[in-house]
Symmetry: C2
Subunit: 276 residues, 2 copies
């Protein structure tokens, strides 16, 4: 297997954390496996997460329409320099690893604003194919790349399982996995997760680290989450699932071509390794 | 009906937008109905959405553990002043209206970081009840307050329906509705939504405005989304839904005490009014 180019996005405010240790562990594993990596450490970079007119050199006297302004600036190469630098890293990368602590069941703002600002129209969405159809959900400029979340969550695993009070992790991550990565064309690997992350005893660290190394070793080959392609025939012209596909069923799981199981998401695997 | 205190959170970068017009419309309606309001216009305030040690006057030589540091600073009254000002507005409010454009199927970073920074441990979570159980999902310091999302979404309604390619809106908003508002004790009203918001013709504006006024008129009385209470008997001691509750079912809808329908979410209503 030839080496991959990996962009690692890190969004934790403390380097001396479990997250920081796992990041170093992960980067070392990538290097030892013959991959190249680049790191965007958002706190260390003092990343600005707030979309505004300055991103697009927008004239403040004109009404700002974000989609249109970002498209124009992207096409003209006039997006602000910090955004262009991240887009160049993504263009270089074969895979993105996106690491964060789960805050209020989503990404920390500094990371959400990395997507808000970097994934502009023309780069990550708004791409029209040769047949006139919009290329999204499995197609688009970022197709061919892989993406994987590395997550630390305070909650115990059972509370984020299929019937856990917090909602199933795969559903909570759907806006990122499906609505962002897959939307822009990327294949999405099951997340690596440390549950109960604020109560990990020191002696458990090596087990978590080993599980992460195992997942990263499979980065080039692991089976992605089986999301449906928008233009694959399952959705009608209004982009609603055709009546003959899983008739009568609703819920986010209808957007998978085959049923999700905890094992299919790799969560169970990771946790087994961690507990073992 | 006696007047309510309403805190309106606004997270759009452009005042001269559909969002800005609807906000002004909404605030006017609240005043005319005899309510008091306060506005947190996050872009106008140049709100800082990034959690870091400065929020807690944290010693940079010490390892930062966000939950512990925020709890200490909250209890000591030493949270940074911008955070305390928002907490005081929330304490004053009977209802929160949270208005934003849907970006990557979630909140703009400036708004996500309002929750990240303001909803600290001790204020919005980490509250232990007299019987030793943690008060969350329907109980907690913010219980008794109501919260409602006012949303503009670029996508057409069908694509965010029960089988639409983007995933059902109620599921996409679950991390905010259930994981944030309800988690901290607030009752959650169905969202007000304008779909296809970047293609609203001028002549449709008054219909959207009327639908918003109608929803705000019902702010004190409307039936909240029927999420299950954590301590209401439906979850076991691991916080997993008991086997006899909707046996064998999974998906986010299991966390509702009765089935969701588009009408129960009010989305259909709004859209009907909008199209009419």
């Amino acid at each position: 297997m030839v080496g991959m180019n990996v962009l690692w996005i890190f969004a934790h405010p403390e380097q001396r954390s479990l997250s920081g240790a796992l990041r170093d562990e992960g980067l070392r594993a990538l290097r030892e496996a013959g991959h190249e990596y680049r790191l965007s450490d958002l706190y260390a970079m003092r990343w600005n997460p707030v979309v505004d007119g300055a991103d697009f050199r927008h004239d403040a006297d004109e009404r700002l329409i974000v989609g249109a302004a970002s498209r124009r600036a992207y096409d003209a190469g006039t997006l602000s320099e910090d955004i262009r630098a991240e887009q160049e890293k993504i263009a270089w990368a074969d895979a993105l690893v996106v690491q964060f602590p789960l805050w209020w069941y989503g990404m920390p703002a500094i990371l959400k604003g990395w997507f808000d600002r970097v994934f502009v129209k023309g780069f990550a969405y708004g791409i029209i194919g040769p047949d006139g159809r919009t290329l999204r959900y499995g197609d688009g400029k970022l197709a061919g790349k892989r993406a994987m979340v590395v997550l630390t969550a305070g909650a115990p695993e059972a509370t984020m399982g299929p019937r856990g009070v917090n909602g199933e992790l795969g559903d909570l991550l759907f806006p990122l996995h499906h609505g962002t990565f897959w939307y822009s064309g990327m294949s999405v690997l099951p997340p690596y997760v440390v549950y109960g992350a604020d109560r990990v005893p020191a002696e458990a660290y090596e087990t978590h680290a080993a599980a992460l190394r195992k997942r990263l070793a499979a980065l080039p080959t692991e089976e992605p989450i089986p999301f449906r392609r928008q233009n694959g025939g399952d959705y009608d012209e209004r982009l609603v699932l055709r009546p003959d596909v899983l008739p009568g069923r609703t819920g986010l799981s209808v957007h998978y071509t085959h049923p999700r199981t905890p094992a299919a998401e790799g969560v169970q695997d990771t946790q087994t390794a961690v507990s073992g």
